[in-house]
Symmetry: C3
Subunit: 132 residues, 3 copies
């Protein structure tokens, strides 16, 4: 169910990008309990002038390895679950591909259960009411 957009600066290898993708997905499985097959990610690689970030906001030192992870996911997670996701993503990205946790930015956008269609033109998470 999540739709994940990962933005970074150009210049990394395909293996590096795969590691980013894998780690974010594994963190979603761990913290949100999504199925392993529920994987839909879009990677956006930017020129330097196209990714603007502050190097010091909130006293966190960021570098050009910065990754911005923007996740659309269902709105039924509570704050504790979201916090566990942040922790899991930062931990896994620090292991693979080896990011500094300071460089991991995560933004969530929540939506409703009836706002997902995974093919065939149907609302994948809506149970149809039985006929009256």
């Amino acid at each position: 169910m999540p739709l994940v957009r990962i933005s970074l600066l150009k210049g990394k290898s395909k293996d590096y990008i795969r590691a980013l993708s894998d780690s974010v997905h594994e963190a979603l499985i761990e913290a949100y309990g999504i199925p392993s097959a529920d994987r839909f990610q879009l990677i956006h690689q930017h020129e330097p002038e196209e990714l603007v970030y502050d190097e010091n906001y909130l006293d966190i030192r960021r570098s050009d390895d910065i990754v911005i992870v923007h996740i659309v996911a269902g709105n039924w997670r509570d704050t504790a679950t979201k916090k566990s996701l942040y922790k899991a993503i930062a931990q896994r990205l620090s292991r693979k591909p080896g990011l500094r946790p300071e460089d991991v930015q995560i933004i969530l956008s929540s939506n409703e259960r009836d706002e997902w269609s995974f093919g065939n033109g149907i609302a994948s998470y809506v149970k149809d009411e039985p006929p009256v």
Copy 2:
């Protein structure tokens, strides 16, 4: 009012992309009743490593023709209307450019009436209160 992002793998022709764009727009007119002139779409074409999808999630068989349609639209549609949109998009894309319905993924993100400005620095959908 909708802002539509359409993501796909690189390699398709301009005519193909135009067909995607047209069909999604026609489905929004049909299902959401938006004006024909209310058309704002961003197409993102990705390298293979930049678009990650599961080939089998929810037992739907996806291929490299996968299209991810992410639509920001006003939050006043009900579930039935959203379902009619999924159906209309999948049907129209299967006709033009000829997608398998399995390859049509749709995600909605809803927002408020005061969250749209279509130019001139004003809130396009907010009626100003009369002076007291």
Copy 3:
């Protein structure tokens, strides 16, 4: 806190893109009161077939200089504040880089305070409860 995506057609200079970025950021400081260091922007440059817009929707005349500014920001702003943001962005972009206000489209997507992590795997805007 805002995550800003700015979309435009390819062909502009780096200085032009920097001016877009600066003006949108200055408008957010002015209208939303965000800290100057709270700056995270992604610029998406599109081929002509990848940015589809209506030239006349709502009787506003748009050109190929169109800019679509999509901002994810916290949901605690009221309509008056959002309107001041639209005005500030259009005014500042008309000064620098010199856009016609008709070409400035703005869409907001609101989210919650616990949906932001600016590094280190923590929820940046959530105050942890004291231990009981």
